[in-house]
Symmetry: C2
Subunit: 204 residues, 2 copies
DNA sequence: CTAGCAGCCTAACAATCGTTAGGCTACTGT
DNA sequence: ACAGTAGCCTAACGATTGTTAGGCTGCTAG
């Protein structure tokens, strides 16, 4: 049981390289031979680790899904103000990008594939539950008057998701999660009368 | 002599249907046969209108590129305050989504393809010029103190572009351009004293 | 020591890809 | 009236796709 070095590492390498290629070029545009080349092996050898291309994709997305699901569960149990819960969910999503950036990009990019793959029913079911959590959180924040009245709940969820997911395409060190949260929140939170922004004094 | 409606319209139908499929499934994941099916014709018949799949993609992206380039040229010639210029550029980008939503999604999604296609050198050159305009506009707005000091110019351009482009994936009637501008601007503009909601009116 | 199997290889499969060849039909200009 | 051709068709091409078959090598459990 100690000879794990050359064993599980190769499988991880396949996962990592294929995720990178899927994210950059698309699932269907990335051939098994291209993945094998990136891993320094032959295409047929990939099938020693994964039964099919679909299963390889499923392994990438399932791992990321487990991570974000855990984060959402913790938020679900926490007693948070509506606006704080919303910020926590944004930060959880961005944290997932930090750990599974390529998986997030694949999920975001190849949505039609994700919607049709028979191996991703669990991921899709979780996504539905996550969407409902988003909807409830946004509606609560709206009810609490923390969101600009120009937005409707359902459209705002989709807009927020698109905006968040798009940042997974940025290089990890380019823009911090704090910066992204700052952009998103100060656009959707209703301005509080009599209170300026906590961090910076306005200057002109 | 336009008594037959299905004549010259067929080429446009191919452009429209293929753009829709490319945007939803990806260029390489969309086969010529799938495009032909969507147009009610045979795959080989597509080659009567376009010499190759690459040329079909190029026709879609070039048409969109011409539109956005025209909008940018008008902004370039207009005497605008830095923040107003930035808002005008955001609105121009969103306006392009309204007219060429699928093309924008293709350009945004299949970036690796766009970067390599020999038929898209003009589109790529224009994109470089547009990026430089974005950089200059952002730097000017920063110099004028209109942007939160937490952002660096180069990273902010990329962030803004990702955020804008991602909204092309939304249904056209879901979120208005005004709403998107509101989200973006109030996250990046430094708060102005004594004003609740800044409402700029840039003219083109 | 040796049987077994993990891990990789080469070679090849059927299916599908973008594309081409060639033919039919109906309209057009003269 | 008739040649030309736009617009579509069927059939097929070679290349590439995901995948399978079968074999070699070296480590490991008993």
């Amino acid at each position: 049981m100690s000879q794990v070095t050359g064993r599980a590492n190769k499988r991880d390498a396949v996962l990592r390289e294929s995720a990178r290629l899927f994210a950059e070029r698309g699932i269907e545009a990335t051939t098994m031979r291209a993945i094998a080349d990136a891993c320094g092996m032959q295409a047929a050898s990939l099938y020693h680790h994964f039964a099919s291309k679909d299963e390889l994709v499923a392994a990438i997305l399932t791992r990321s899904d487990a991570h974000i699901s855990g984060l959402y569960d913790a938020i679900l149990d926490a007693p948070l103000e509506p606006a704080d819960r919303l910020e926590a969910m944004i930060r959880a999503t961005l944290d997932n990008f930090g750990h599974h950036r390529d998986a997030a990009r694949i999920y975001y990019r190849d949505r039609a594939y994700v919607a049709e793959s028979p191996l991703l029913t669990q991921v899709r079911d979780n996504a539905v539950a996550h969407d409902e959590l988003w909807d409830r959180s946004i509606e609560a924040a709206i009810a609490a008057g923390r969101i600009s009245p120009r937005f409707e709940a359902i459209n705002l969820r989709r807009l927020l998701q698109e905006l968040m997911w798009s940042t997974a395409r940025l290089r990890g060190d380019a823009v911090s999660a704090d910066d992204i949260v700052h952009v998103l929140l100060h656009g959707i939170l209703a301005p509080e009368p009599g209170r300026g922004e906590p961090s910076h004094r306005p200057e002109l």
